[in-house]
Amino acid sequence: MLSFWNFAAKNLLRNKRRTISTAVAICVGFVGLNLLGAYIYRSKKALDVTSIYSAQRGHISILKKDAVEFYQVKPKKYVLNLDEQNSIQKILANMSNDVEYFGYRLTVSGLLSNGIKSHPVVIYGFDPLAFKKSLQQSDLIKWAKDWIIPSQLENLDIFINKPDTLSLTDRIADILSVSKPYAGHDDLQIAARSIDGDLNAINVSLGAEHTTGMQFLEDTVVLLPLKKVQELMNTDSVEAISIYLKPNINIDKFIEKFNSELKMNNLNIDIFKYDDVEINSLHQGTMGFLYVMGGFFVFLICSAVSLTIINSLTMGIIERTREIGTLRAVGFTVNHVVNLFLKEGILLSVFSMSAGIVFSFIIAEIVNRLNIKFFPPGASQQIQFVLNWNMIIACVVFLLLLFISWISSYVVIRQKMKVKLINLINDSGEIL
């Protein structure tokens, strides 16, 4: 029995050259969108894991209300004191189904000196246990291994075993003329204002290195275990608590639950997700840029694919005008004819995009094996250009282009069906 799909497939073979060139255009468009989506997806995952684990923000950061704005100016007023920490700890203990671990943070600006040179730095106080757990996260290794220095993974217990260990960037080490290996180097001194505003100083020993990932932070940020920073600031308070959730926990739902617990305990707290602009403008800015650029390219590619289909189908319809009239004469309704042409478009798209899935995979594999390195804007070092081919993205692109194909075909054939039937039949088409 002659089915419409069968008929559609045969029609596609009518003009093989035109069909193949249209198929190639759809395939290329699909590959382009798929790999663009893969790159944006990879970029987002990398930003996510570095924000959560490398930058120690956790999935959620909690600070005293308005601390984001005013902590640097009035730290004493905007820290979380011991009582507040204990209350929050109790709440988190009751939410252990969702929370994997948490850690405290405290930052202060100061001067780092080797006795000869001094350099202004931001001292980032972190929880060594939380830091160790974060560096061991498989997602961090998977998506952001370029941001991890191998020595960090080799010596995960250094901050636990030696809590006065300072971690330097290469840039700061150069400024202070400190050469590797850092272990065994003379102690450095850090001076900063205590929480009460007095000047204080402590000795720290060198033993670790890190990278901030950002050019503008590489000569600024040093890492020091929390207890030493608290000693420097003469306080047992913390600036923020980073909460790390278990896999597949919905962050927004957790925030809602957590917020109500905080209100019940009369805690005046701000809660931030790791990608909130108030605490992570880099994430917002970068993803915003990628989405806009990506959206622009999606528009361009979809337009090109649509126009190719419209052009190809228009040529086909012009050649088959009398045939369309004949189909209508033998009893095909307008919808039957439209249906037939839509099936042609769908068949062609499905075939082209199926080939596109294979090509996307092959191209991604080749690119990844080539180990192409590049400097992202503002980055402190080169990272590998990686295309993480993703089935979900491929499916979304598949459906998008299928829709584009459908709508392009529909517009063209519907336009033709407005022509009077008698004019269709009398058109000079292919004569047998």
């Binding site: 002659l2 004949t326 209508r328 004469a329 033998v330």
Partner: protein
């Protein structure tokens, strides 16, 4: 015998640039079931227009056309499509076969949009139609593998397959040589005689005119003889 077609005082005009041309003027006629009727007239007399109006390929400006008792003016596009599928078979001068389909599939085409037919029933009808025109052995051939006469036979089979009340043919032998044209005429007459298929067609072919039951002459959009 009942009237398959009843035409009552129809008018049809076309716009050609700035001017309006009256293709059919106050025309009335009937086609009886089983008739083998030729519509003859010079070029521009309105015979093709009349054929198209009867076949619901075009619409009258005034008047009524009743096809098997149904006034086609009252039908919407989908209903006209259904009427053409069930009641009318078309044979075109240029055969109008679908080049990518086989002979079998070309003949099967009108049945693919019919509801309630099984695959077996459709296959049987197609084979029966091909048998009637003597082309069963060519079922798997494509139209470009057939001669002109064979292609027209396929077109006749396609017109027959739906058991229509009426077959309309627009110059069915115009693109054929005389020997082939004769064979096609023989086939049409045979179908008319044996299967009581009603034929209504326009032609210039004198050989065809000599063999028809009825001749209707049309001139300037009006019938000039009563059959």
């Amino acid at each position: 015998m009942k009237n398959v077609v009843e035409i009552k005082n129809i008018f049809k005009s076309y716009k050609l640039g700035e001017t309006s041309v009256e293709a059919v003027r106050n025309l009335s006629l009937s086609v009886v079931q089983g008739d083998f009727t030729a519509l003859i007239g010079s070029s521009g007399s309105g015979k093709t227009t009349l054929l198209n109006l009867i076949g619901c390929l075009d619409q009258v400006d005034q008047g009524d056309i009743l096809l098997d008792g149904q006034n086609v003016k009252l039908l919407d596009e989908n209903q006209k499509s259904a009427l053409r599928n069930q009641k009318i078979g078309f044979i075109f001068q240029s055969f109008n076969l679908i080049p990518v389909l086989s002979v079998f599939e070309n003949v099967e085409l009108p049945l693919t949009v019919r509801q309630g037919m099984t695959q077996v029933e459709m296959s049987h009808k197609v084979k029966s139609a091909l048998l009637d025109v003597g082309l069963l052995e060519f079922a798997n051939h494509r139209p470009d593998q057939l001669s002109g006469g064979q292609r027209q036979r396929v077109a006749i089979a396609r017109a027959l397959v739906t058991d229509p009340a009426l077959i309309l043919a627009d110059e069915p032998t115009a693109n054929l040589d005389s020997k082939t044209a004769n064979k096609i005429i023989d086939l049409m007459l045979d179908l008319n005689l044996k299967k009581k298929v009603t034929f209504f067609f326009c032609t210039h072919d004198e050989k065809l005119m000599n063999r028809v039951q009825k001749i209707i002459k049309i001139k300037d959009g009006q019938i000039v003889n009563e059959p």
